[in-house]
């Protein structure tokens, strides 16, 4: 079974938190409002009502594309995707077919310490549908969600595991929250995941000729479970000689299985054509350049900057991806300009409250003011002692002359300009010897 590899692509839908809807002027803030109480003629597709595109939503989408290194297309348009569904009030969804706002992006993910670049095929914009509520054998329709701006990101099939797909989706969620364009709250349906999964023999160079789409997954955990289940199911099917087909499946979290929703034969013909109610867009260089001004820094960019400023990678990663820790980190860096950023980062990661961190840093400061010499970072210390593994082992074994030896080596390496007072305790903690 080990000679199979998974080929996975993701489609991620994200509701944008604009003031008004994608094409109508009803408020976009509808969480926990009574059904059908917040609508406009446009959002419920009344005869004669016309869509006017929300510039803010388009801008959000393009900014998102910008931070994901996409091409922001100078020409773009909306199209009609025609299909029947009770909660689709116009009988078509305004979406984008062949000219999305953004295409060809890239995002690095790190899984098991391996960096992998995921290609993003496109990011387009569309309108959300209403909601069907199935209650007591009846179906009720709520159009409050109808017309909510919905961004869809489609990746290339670049993931080989559930962990990779999940890591990517988490970064995407974080990015839209930092950009302030979506709450991306999966429980509220702000962010929805779909995975396209297939498997192939390791030595097969081209992509499999089928893919199974698992729709409407509303948590990272469910996505991992669904992907792992599918990989397993598909390998088993191929092993017994089954031919797998293009199909859409759902995920039943209770049973822990996927189930078929639609086979290839029943696939929709959406009869896409350019939306005649909305003229095509042409964006000039000035507009596109202006888009990227004053955008918040993305965590993956920030992480690299932290590493460059001397922060160890694991600390940098945690600070870059944790807003709360980052705030404390930045505060403490301002308060302690004389300290190394890595030292502060370490304290921030290892202590809970900012007061605890402050106390710890001040204590260190008290010890160091007594000396005119600098305090070495752990990295600097490790860099020296790693050259002397025997002495390290001796220290671990409790030989105190090994401690003196290592201190001597460190002092020599740094030409005596070191505050030796803290070195013994630091060394013992780093090496873990009994003193």
């Amino acid at each position: 079974m080990n000679n199979y590899v998974a080929v996975i692509g993701l489609e991620i839908h994200i509701q944008l938190k604009t003031k008004s809807r994608m094409f109508g002027n009803a408020s976009n803030d509808v969480w926990q409002t009574s059904p059908n109480s917040i609508t406009s003629p446009v959002d419920i597709g009344l005869p004669g009502a016309l869509p006017v595109p929300n510039k803010e939503a388009i801008r959000y989408t393009q900014q998102f594309g910008y931070v994901l290194e996409c091409t922001i297309n100078k020409q773009s348009k909306f199209d009609r995707k025609n299909y029947f569904y009770p909660d689709l009030p116009k009988g078509y969804q305004i979406s984008q077919y062949d000219e999305p706002f953004c295409s060809n992006g890239l995002l690095d993910i790190k899984v098991n310490n391996q960096v992998k670049t995921i290609r993003i095929r496109r990011i387009h914009l569309e309108e959300d549908t209403g909601k069907s509520l199935h209650i007591d054998g009846r179906t009720l329709l709520d159009f409050n969600r109808s017309g909510t701006p919905l961004m869809e990101l489609v990746t290339e099939p670049d993931f080989a595991s559930a962990d990779e797909a999940s890591e990517f989706a988490k970064i995407i969620q974080e990015a839209v929250v930092i950009l302030g364009i979506s709450d991306a709250d999966m429980e509220k349906g702000n962010m929805r995941l779909e995975a396209n999964i297939s498997v192939k023999k390791q030595d097969q160079s081209d992509l499999p000729n089928y893919r199974v789409e698992v729709k409407n997954i509303n948590s990272f955990k469910f996505m991992r479970n669904a992907i792992n289940y599918e990989i397993d199911r598909q390998i088993k099917a191929l092993e017994i000689g089954e031919i797998l087909n293009q199909e859409t499946r759902g995920w039943d979290e209770k049973k822990g299985i996927t189930f078929i929703q639609r086979s290839k034969e029943n696939a929709h013909d959406y009869r896409y054509f350019p939306e005649p109610d909305i003229p095509p867009f042409v964006f000039d260089d000035e507009y596109i350049n202006e888009l990227s001004q004053n955008l918040p820094k993305m965590p993956w960019v920030y992480e690299l900057e932290l590493i460059e400023s001397g922060v160890n990678e694991p600390f940098a990663n945690q600070i870059a991806h944790n807003q709360e820790k980052n705030q404390m980190y930045l505060q403490l860096v301002r308060e302690n300009p004389q300290k190394s950023q890595n030292e502060i980062a370490k304290v921030v990661i290892n202590r809970k409250s900012i007061n605890e961190m402050r106390d710890y840093l001040n204590k260190q400061l008290d010890q160091s003011v007594s000396s005119k010499n600098t305090i070495l970072t752990e990295d600097q210390i490790l860099a020296v002692i790693n050259i002397f593994p025997d002495a390290v082992n001796d220290l671990k074994a409790g030989k105190s002359n090994a401690l003196q030896f290592l201190i001597g080596q460190i002092m020599r390496e740094h030409k005596g300009q070191v505050d030796a007072a803290t070195l013994p305790s630091v060394l013992i903690r780093l090496i873990g010897g009994s003193n």
Partner: protein, 464 residues
């Protein structure tokens, strides 16, 4: 004096000189409608006298208007002349309805038309055909059948219509009325039930050219609720409307004169002579893509129709899809086919390419001439029932009007005389946003011919 025969211009003058009051005018007009509406069937919905007078009594300069029943009117049933929308009361007004009502136009009712504006005779209405006030055995043309007939019958001095492929100009030419198909995007489409979103144009019927220019100046202009409406400033259409047309270069597209009824051709040639006499320079021009326009139109239109009518899916609005009429079903089927995978390129995409050719041809032609002059209909008004079982022949009635819609340019239909008491019209076609020039030429022609004074004798005919 019959107040109902007054033009908007005469009504405004009458109010200014205190010749009559708005309540007198409305009372007389409503009486006239009461007496004659059953012969014409111009209306689908009539507001009650009480409703109308509650609007009129406070308004000393009120002008009566009626809207084609595909215009959304807040609180007034809007059916699109289809049973599938029967009982639908819009919660909002179309932009043009709103603009007209703030300009003292009082809605007296909603006008009959082909269901969802699909048709050239008005006979596709689920509320019975509208009859031509000049001859009750004839159709008034469509799809804005009720609008044309209501103005011709002097039920209202002005009515709204829509022109997607000729639905204003054709009935105007059959009823001795003036009909404008403005530049696409000149008047907001917001609130007007869509037929073919990319060609739907919002326009008006009036008795005279001046009236038509007056009402367009109220409805034209950018609307933030319609993304396809234009920011182009609206000129003062009435200023210089009497300007002489010396030296105006009028092109006669020879492709528009093929297979035309000879009596129409005679009147058309007469019109050329009159305009030439008024100082216009007449030039022969060729628009060779014209012959493909009708084919392209009858692919693009059903394609968009199939999508636009998808919202009537039986979930909302009360009725299921069996309430669609034959023509709507036909267009939904053709359009769904044209947009389907495997056929899209051969039909829809190809038709759009033809459209581009037609646009370029018009643009090039307007480099050398100011306007084009053409007949509106290739045939005289058919008898009621004559063509109802021949959809292809009906489609061919649009042959001289659809190129303008595909290109999005404006065209003004003006009366050009009569044959055997039946009206004949001509259209003045202009470049984008040239409505002002069209009105000047129309005004010069009308001042010379005064055909609008020849009103129909509905009452006499009824007594025959």
């Amino acid at each position: 004096m019959n107040l109902h025969n007054l033009t908007i211009r005469e009504i405004i003058e009458g109010y200014t000189l205190h010749k009559f009051s708005s309540t007198e005018l409305f009372a007389e007009i409503l009486g006239h409608i009461d007496q004659n509406e059953t012969k014409i069937n111009a209306f689908i919905t009539n507001r009650t006298t009480e409703e109308i007078f509650s609007d009129v009594t406070d308004n000393l300069i009120a002008i009566p208007i009626a809207h084609k029943d595909i215009y959304s009117t807040q609180g007034i049933e809007t059916t699109a002349a289809s049973n599938i929308l029967k009982g639908y009361i819009p919660p909002y007004n179309a932009t043009s309805v709103k603009r007209l009502s703030t300009n003292n136009f009082i809605t007296i009712g909603k006008l009959n038309c082909d269901a969802f504006a699909h048709g050239a005779t008005g006979e596709n209405s689920d509320f019975g055909p509208t009859l031509n006030p000049y001859d009750l055995t004839k159709t008034p043309g469509g799809s804005s059948s009720g609008s044309a007939a209501a103005v011709a019958a002097a039920f209202v001095p002005v009515a709204t219509g829509t022109d997607t492929g000729g639905s204003i100009r054709l009935p105007a030419s059959f009823t001795n009325t003036v009909g404008i198909k403005p530049t696409y995007g000149r008047v907001s489409r917001y609130g007007v039930i869509a037929m073919t979103s990319s060609t739907d144009s919002i326009g008006h019927f009036t008795k005279t050219v001046w009236d038509n220019a007056y009402i367009l100046s109220k409805t034209a202009g950018f609307d933030p609720l319609d993304a396809t409406s234009s920011h182009e400033p609206v000129p003062d259409y009435l200023l210089e409307i009497d300007k002489r047309i010396n030296g105006v270069k009028i092109g006669i597209p020879r492709e528009y004169l093929l297979n035309i009824d000879s009596v129409i051709l005679n009147k058309f040639n007469e019109a050329i002579d009159i305009l030439s006499h008024l100082g216009a320079e007449i030039v022969d021009v060729s628009l060779p893509s014209t012959e493909y326009a009708i084919n392209a139109y009858y692919i693009i239109t059903p394609s968009e129709v199939s999508s636009n009518l998808a919202r009537f899916d039986g979930i909302r609005y009360g009725f299921d899809r069996s309430k669609f009429g034959q023509e709507a079903k036909r267009r939904i089927l053709i359009g769904t086919y044209c947009l389907s995978a495997g056929y899209y390129d051969a039909y829809y995409l190809k038709a759009q390419k033809v459209r581009t050719l037609i646009i370029n041809e018009f643009k090039n032609t307007f480099k050398n001439i100011d306007v084009l002059l053409a007949p509106v209909s290739p045939i005289m008004p058919p008898n009621i029932g004559e063509l109802t079982n021949d959809p292809l022949k009906l489609y061919m009635m649009d042959v001289l009007t659809v190129p303008v819609n595909l290109a999005g340019i404006p065209s003004l239909s003006v009366p050009a005389g009569f044959d055997n008491n039946l009206p004949i019209g001509i259209q003045i076609i202009g470049n984008y946003f040239s409505e002002k020039l069209l009105y000047q030429i129309g005004q010069a022609f009308e001042t010379e011919t005064q055909y609008y004074k020849q009103t129909p004798k509905i009452t006499e005919r009824n007594n025959e």
